[in-house]
Amino acid sequence: MSGSAAAAGGAEARAGPAVPLLTVENLTKHFAVRGGWLNRTNGVVQAVDDVSFAVRSGETLGVVGESGCGKSTTARLIMHLIGRDSGRISFAGRLVGAAHGLSRRDLHRQMQMVFQDSYASLNPRLPVATSIAFGPFIHGLGKAAALKRAMQLLEAVGLDPLQFANRYPHELSGGQRQRINIARALALEPRIVILDEAVSALDKSVEAQVLNLLSDLKAHFDLTYIFISHDLNVVRYISDRVMVMYLGKVVEVGPVHRIYRSPRHPYTQALLSAMPSMDPRRRTLRAPLSGDPPNPISPPSGCRFRTRCPFAEKVCELVPPNLLPVEGSGAVACHMRVAGSGHSRADKAVAH
């Protein structure tokens, strides 16, 4: 190995079972808000701020958070649909966009995305088989071969090619369209599929069918999923690990059962206890949080959650907490969990 690669450490190493499939480091994206007289920049929306995480091959990473948390922006950043301000993204150990790394075009062969709006995701003027075949076609596969792959994928997602290949999006139901979108995402044979609220707009009965389909496809095609959703029940069902975001920052990440049973960050706790109860005998009596999520244009100093956190103290206002490993695997960004941070509850951080 060359000297620079050895010096750079694991990031340049080839991917193996120990190296994550996707590594995101210090991802940042701010949007300028223009307005006023000469369309000058009034403020900055800190949509994604210093976000780092990794996705292991074969797992499903669930990403949850409320509006303004930056989960959709993060998805678009790692898909390179919008340019990032800073940060590094590596796929299988190769840096994306770097000279000897992976080009954007090659990244798209490895990573694809399914959007929320099943209707807007399909070109209304093209038959669905053509929409599916478009990706392989422009990457060099001939028209006939691309269409053949489209047919195979139609079958794979449970739609009979004889019935559906020539149909147009407006002739299909929401669930069928979303299956087409999934087929389209799989057409380039990617390793990672990002599902951005992919089942949120579907009826519950159809949602269950599509979730079953996603599990089957994951096993069959050996896929890795990043599943973004606001529905905590669905995320709990489908994820191996869960990442919680708030106002552009990652506040907690960890194995799904640990997150749901003993969340370490106060926001995660609030989020989980805000879910409506399914038991009429035990209704929710108090709302865990008051007010709306604050404006991402001028987020609070220090810990961004402090304005709604019942445990907030002076140190939370002054020092932003870092995302640090926690007992039982995962990480959390909260002063209460770090001994010696200055928070009154910090020394009570108990090992489980």
Partner: protein
């Protein structure tokens, strides 16, 4: 679930046998068929077009040969059912033969503007940024001139004649076509399926060709068809002013100018070219309205 062995052997075969879906254009066509007014108008235009192309079959007299003896015969004269003009030429023949020039001058500029302006507009709308600014600001400069003045200026520099008329009108119509194309493209650009196409790694020109074009063509075509009616009037106007087609051509605007003095003597005959311009322009207008309504398909 999925059995990879159950493959469609030949994708084309499957496509052929697969159930045909109803495309957008097919639905537009079906809606058009329901619209009786637009169908009637289009029939009139088709008839006009056929008559004009097959002029020799529809006329008897030579449109350029006149006889002083037969000047300004009124409508209904034996042998000249629409009368004769101030030099004795048969009006009906001149109208039909002149229709060739008038329609040419009315449709060709719009078609050329569609090709040039459409391409520039879609490019500007998709690329955004500097390319967009450059094209749109250039368009704004041209837009600042009223189209009739622009056309006059160009023909004034280049001289009169059919070719220059068409050139002048084309240049006048390029800016509005750029504007509408850019606007529609910019809207389409942000839809999820375009993002998905970008996410599959396609290059901008490819995306414009496969995903943008077929979605913006509809509104642009509707707009262009509404421009035809204006173009016919402008072409006639230019000829009327002496800047367009020159005598002895039988262009309708020119005929209107020549017959001006005859207005007091034979008003019906003098008004006929104007009536023709009006009918044709109106028909194109109604057709474009009908197209717009048919394309407004609620999905």
């Amino acid at each position: 679930m999925v059995d990879a062995a159950v493959l469609p052997a030949d994708a084309n075969l499957v496509l052929k046998r697969a159930q045909q879906g109803k495309s957008y254009w097919r639905r537009v066509w079906e809606r058009l068929l329901d619209d009786k007014v637009t169908l009637a108008v289009m029939a009139v235009l088709l008839l006009l077009f056929v008559m004009v192309v097959l002029a020799p079959w529809f006329t008897v007299h030579d449109p350029y040969t006149g006889s002083v003896l037969r000047r300004l015969k009124p409508v209904g004269t034996l042998g000249h059912w629409l009368g004769t003009d101030e030099v004795g030429r048969d009006l009906w023949s001149r109208m039909v033969w002149g229709g060739r020039i008038s329609l040419l001058a009315g449709v060709v500029p719009v078609f050329l503007a569609l090709v040039v302006g459409g391409f520039l507009g879609i490019l500007a709308g998709y690329m955004g940024g500097f390319v967009n600014s450059a094209i749109m600001r250039l368009t704004d400069v041209l837009y600042a001139f009223p189209s009739i003045l622009l056309a006059i200026a160009i023909t004034g520099i280049l001289g009169s004649g059919l070719q220059n008329t068409i050139l002048a009108l084309t240049i006048s119509f390029i800016p509005p076509v750029i504007r509408i194309s850019e606007s529609v493209t910019a809207q389409t650009r942000h839809l999820d399926f375009v993002e998905a196409a970008r996410a599959s790694g396609a290059r901008p020109l490819t995306i414009m060709r496969y995903h943008i074009l077929n979605n913006v063509l509809g509104p642009i075509l509707v707009y262009a068809s509404s421009l035809i009616s204006i173009c016919i009037i402008l072409a006639a106007g230019l000829s009327f002013l002496g800047l367009g087609v020159t005598p002895p051509s039988a262009e309708w605007g020119l005929m209107l100018n020549n017959l001006r003095q005859a207005l007091w003597v034979s008003p019906l005959v003098a008004a006929l070219p104007g009536v023709m311009i009006f009918i044709t322009s109106m028909c194109f207008n109604l057709m474009s309205d009908g197209l717009r309504q048919a394309m407004d398909v609620r999905l």
